[in-house]
């Protein structure tokens, strides 16, 4: 059984806005969400990179204590975007709790804030500090905390998938959710990812010399995907969720169809866990086209992973060129908000949906001078209007995991 899978609701909390209109405005105005790294009183002083993709606006969660007692900061983000998609979907409560709706959602590593508080007890000599480690801390910090706080809050009883694969966490969440619905295991899935403010992730990339350090005094000028003066990635925070539904039932109930997932691929480089791999990435892009049964020339826009690391962007450009040539428009959306880690695939999918709906493609920010090794691509340098029928969202992760999602506008109307 192979069924069509459509996206019927979406929500994102990003460094460039939360409301759909704010995010679109930021994309159109070229507004960056990269700000100075907040002081955590622990690691910040040792980190060379002083920039962060920051969510610095208040969010009115409206959760009760009953909801929040098992939630760390990452679950607040996750439950908020899940709440938004359920509210926007118009799904009946009976369906939500029927077992036919599942959740595919995760984060890079649960809640680092809560984990850090647990670790602090190791450095404390007070027995009362030790006894404060409890089951609640585990529920708040465990790797699938986002997924199960969503199921708990809304009484969802279907399948739970929590794919924590670093930068491909939420693109995998969407891809695996798509396969759940496509092959009839579930009728609908809430899919996405979230990551909270966390300096340990910044420290990791900083120590690997992968973080941007040259623009600490001008945060909005970094990251710079594909630019000659790029100097590394910028870690960020955020969340994104989409609701995937089986096409026929979505149509029957009159749901708004934002787009259709027509293909997904995921593979592994089968070797080095850090370095980008041209063969592995190229294979992923081709596998996605095969899954969607479309040709390379059918893809109008590629949302590149484009973290702005020195080698990552070059390898990705080579893979795009090998598969698509220089035709599709290319944007690195991380240029607006940094690398939101476990949420980047979902956020970039949602931003792509917004742009497809609005009929424009935003440019890569800070792309002043394209690296000559990336010049063979059709980089978007200014807001470009026009129809995007099919878009590719590609993400690659530490661990050698690669993903590619293919999204189409409503194929029935030809829009």
């Amino acid at each position: 059984m192979k069924r069509r899978v459509v996206i019927t609701a979406s929500s994102a909390i990003t460094p460039i806005g939360y409301k759909r209109s704010d995010i679109i405005e930021s994309l159109l105005q070229g507004r960056s969400g990269v700000k100075p790294l907040r002081d955590d009183g622990l690691l910040t002083q040792h980190i060379h990179s002083r920039v962060f993709g920051t969510v610095d606006y208040p969010i009115d969660y409206g959760f009760t204590r009953k909801d929040t007692k098992t939630m760390g900061p990452v679950a607040f983000y996750a439950c908020q975007v899940a709440k938004d998609v359920l509210a926007a979907s118009g799904l009946e409560q009976e369906f939500i709790t029927s077992g036919r709706l599942g959740v595919s959602f995760s984060s890079t590593h649960g809640s680092p804030t809560v984990q850090r508080n647990i670790y602090k007890t190791f450095f404390s000599k007070l027995p009362s500090e030790f006894s404060s480690i409890g089951a609640v801390d585990y529920l708040k910090s465990m790797v699938h905390t986002t997924a199960v706080n969503i199921t708990r809050m809304f009484g969802i009883t279907g399948r739970v998938i929590a794919s924590s694969t670093a930068c491909t966490t939420s693109s995998q969440s969407i891809g695996l959710g798509y396969e759940m619905v496509k092959y009839g295991m579930q009728d609908a899935m809430i899919c996405g990812g979230a990551d909270e403010y966390d300096t340990t992730t910044v420290a990791v990339f900083d120590n690997l010399l992968a973080c941007s350090v040259a623009y600490n005094d001008r945060p909005e000028c970094t990251p710079r995907p594909f630019d000659t003066k790029r100097d590394g990635l910028v870690v960020g925070e955020g969340a994104g969720a989409v609701l995937l539904e089986e096409y026929e039932s979505a149509k029957r109930r009159g749901a708004t169809i934002l787009g259709e997932v027509i293909g997904f691929a995921c593979n592994n480089n089968g070797g080095d866990l850090i370095l980008p791999n041209l063969d592995g990435i190229t294979a992923t892009l081709r596998l996605a086209l095969k899954d969607a049964d479309i040709r390379p020339q059918d893809v109008d826009f590629v949302s590149a992973h484009a973290t702005a690391t020195k080698m990552g962007d070059v390898i990705e450009a080579q893979a795009i060129n090998a598969v698509y040539g220089g035709r599709p428009l290319i944007t690195g959306l991380k240029s607006y908000m940094g690398h939101t880690m476990g949420s980047c695939g979902a956020i970039e999918t949602i931003l792509t949906l917004y742009m497809m709906e609005q009929g424009f493609i935003a440019p890569t920010l800070n792309l002043d001078s394209v690296d000559e090794r990336c010049r063979m691509l059709n980089h978007v340098r200014k807001v470009t209007t026009g129809e995007t029928r099919i878009a590719a969202i590609q993400n690659f992760a530490f661990g050698g995991v690669n993903t590619c999602l293919l999204i189409a506008r409503d194929r029935d109307t030809g829009a």
């Binding site: 009760t64 204590r65 009953k66 007692k69 098992t70 027995p127 009362s128 006894s131 404060s132 409890g134 089951a135 609640v136 529920l139």
Partner: protein, 85 residues
Amino acid sequence: MNRDELQKKIISILEDDFEFAHPGLTDNLRDDHGFDSIDAIELLAKIETMLGFQLTREEKEKAMSIRTINDILDYIEAIQTAHHS
């Protein structure tokens, strides 16, 4: 701490930290206030802080039979007595 002081303290914890509305001494904690296993673990940690010593595993296991606020008060009084004897 006598029974009245204890009652005042526990009700204050239940209202402030567990968002209980109008707690009654014989209310069923689970049915009337949605108090679950996670809350029970949190309450035990607060009781330890209040008493100033750690509860033993056996003492904690005895808390599993608590159903009402009166049960909580009886439980704490029994522990206080055992520790002072």
